[in-house]
């Protein structure tokens, strides 16, 4: 996962942002590499939007520097910036007599000639962008006739049509229902990995932020309070403190909406159980690695997740030892996987079969990773 520093698409150096003379957030130091998603989280009004708008040039930063691909953004022309960075805002525009295709076509602005007439190549790019967000069937429709979710897809296509390396998304899911939220984020994640874009976004939905982000930055007060991988941020009471939650707590383990599973031949075999492997499943999913999991008891709390996310799972009936065939099948799977991850720490009567699997994997010389439960 480590990439050399030349892959840093956007670097905020000592950036201060705000409106007029009021500084909202100061000394922001963040870097996003290509192919990576950074998500800003934090309470309402914390200034997430202000940060994004300052990066995109919608408002002037009050201090510090935004580096795009290592270059000071202020030294680039409008056209150069537009060819590097594009944005999807929170509010959707109101259009008049514009088809979706025409809305997307406005993204070609930095590439067209004096009169802004699109070449065939430009139109091809427009159609490609619509296909990427899976909105090709609404291309000819009037933008105002679409549902919010479809409109948001079209706006994403507009941003992609600008052929950016950096995508800024201000609460892209804010007024979508749960189905559209999940669809849109999974689309974004796919595109990011495919086109190696750097994404800088803000999200309200913590459960989803955890699942799509490579980095999470917590905005609180006038600082970025913490930056880190989701596993670090969603641990202990960080979230509860970030949102000043006094009642209840943030259940870091289960975010209910799931992104679709990564399809393909399983590359990793996860030996888990009892919730110890949940974070491993999410991490593999996020990194786009198909995996198999087992052997789990049907009443294991990991089962609902595994059922959704693993391409293959080995499940035994509750309170019973697994059948010999199941154990053998799991072994066959381990033989063809590249890697085995085991998150189980203690083996006893009820998971002795998993110890058998672990030992089998070690004997085969598979790269075995022992992980402690990440949600201690």
């Amino acid at each position: 996962m480590e990439q050399e520093s030349s892959n840093i698409a956007i670097h905020l150096a000592a950036l201060s942002v705000g409106y007029g003379r009021t500084t909202l957030i100061r000394d922001i130091e963040l870097k996003v590499r290509r192919g990576e998603i950074l998500t800003l989280i934090g309470p309402n009004g914390a200034g997430k939007s202000t940060i994004l708008k300052s990066i995109a040039g919608q408002i002037e930063p009050l201090g510090g520097v935004v580096y795009l691909k290592g270059q000071d953004k202020r030294k680039l022309t409008r056209q150069q910036v537009a060819q590097t960075l594009s944005m999807v805002m929170t509010g959707q525009p109101v259009t008049e007599l514009m088809s979706c295709r025409e809305v997307v076509a406005t993204g070609r602005y930095p590439y067209t000639g004096r009169l802004g007439i699109l070449s065939q190549q430009d139109w091809r790019k427009v159609d490609e962008s619509l296909e990427l967000v899976r909105a090709e069937e609404v291309a000819g429709k009037d933008f105002m006739e679409l549902s919010d979710g479809q409109r948001q897809r079209v706006m994403l296509a507009r941003a992609l049509c600008q052929e950016p390396e950096i995508l800024i998304l201000d609460e892209p899911t804010s007024f979508l229902d749960v189905r559209y939220k999940v669809e849109l984020l999974s689309t974004i994640r796919d595109i990011v990995k495919k086109q190696r874009l750097a994404v800088f976004m803000s999200l309200h939905e913590l459960d989803l932020a955890k699942k799509v982000s490579d980095q999470i930055a917590c905005v609180k007060g006038d600082r970025i309070e913490r930056v880190g991988e989701p596993e670090e941020i969603f641990r202990g009471d960080t979230i509860a403190r970030l949102y000043n939650m006094e009642q209840g707590s943030f259940e870091s383990l289960f975010g209910v909406p799931q992104l679709p599973k990564v399809e393909g031949e399983a590359k990793v075999f996860v030996i888990g159980g009892g919730g110890s492997a949940v974070d491993t499943y999410y991490r593999l999913q996020r990194q786009g690695i198909p995996f198999a999991a087992g052997i789990l008891s049907a009443n294991d709390l990991e089962y609902p997740i595994v059922k959704e996310l693993a391409v293959e799972h080995f499940v035994s009936a509750a309170y019973q030892e697994p059948a010999e065939e199941l154990l053998e099948a799991a072994k066959r799977r381990i033989e063809v996987c590249e890697e085995v991850v085991c998150t189980v720490e203690l083996f006893g009567t009820y998971n002795a079969f998993n110890k058998v699997l672990l030992q089998y994997a070690e004997r085969l010389g598979k790269l075995v990773e022992r992980r402690e439960a990440e949600n201690g």
Partner: protein, 333 residues
Amino acid sequence: MKRIGRCFVAMAVALLVLFYWNVNTGSVALTPGEVLELLLLKRGDAVALRIVWDIRLPRMLAAAILGGALSVSGFLLQSFFGNPIAGPYILGISSGAKLVVALTMIFFLGRGMTIGSIHMIGAAFVGAMLAMGFVLLFSTRTHKMSLLIVCGVMIGYICSAITDFVVTFADDANIVNLHNWSMGSFSGTTWSNVSVMTVVIILTLFVTFFLAKPMAAYQLGEAYARNAGVNIRGLRVMLILLSSLLSACVTAFAGPISFVGIAVPHLVKVMTGKARPLIMLPGCFLMGAVVTLFCDGIARTVFAPTELSISSVTAVLLVPVVIWMMLKRQGGR
């Protein structure tokens, strides 16, 4: 694209028909053959020749060119405010131009000096920019278009009131003309007027045409346009300057003309089914020419030999269009 092509052909045909109708209505009746002979060969009855060449033709050309310019000006203002109810007349810009032109004329004519077309345009431009300045000042205080339009209408009333006042108390004989002009009229247009307005308006439209690209990006609003790399401040300044210059030019030659600037862009959108600036700019010019020529024809002929002011005709014919458009927008939300 076919539909757009057909629309442009239809407008061009309408323009030709109206040209013919305008040449051939009035106190002197002519046969089609005579009209062609007069126009193409400059041959025929001496009186008819004078009437057609010295009176009707420059007037028609002025109506077409100025009507087109006014419509483009309206479209630019609508893009600027992001609202189809904007127009140079309703925002008080025409009246501002009228006021400064009237003051300038009274000042110069009172001293026995004559003023040329260019100076008239300059004076009108100053007036248009002043009125526009007030509207922009109000627009920093409110984002409600309805409020802004009320402000514009009031500015228009104040300017008209002052104009009436100075016209009433100016006693020079030349100012009799001024009264006609301040009501809005194409009568008395000379060939030299036509040549000046043609040059100024064609140059302005040429520059305007290159705004089609940023205006298209601006259709999604300021934020998305900026994101696409549009120089927002530059675009806004250009929209204001060009729309003011176009409506100033109209006012300098024909006085204030109501509702053309607001209704014509809407008609073009309904007809073509598109709002792309690249189509709208030439579309508005053509359609504006058609509508204004038609209205001027009516102003001239309905109660002949008495002439109506052009604004009374445009108001009667175009206000229904504006109301229809406002109701439709309301329903759409």
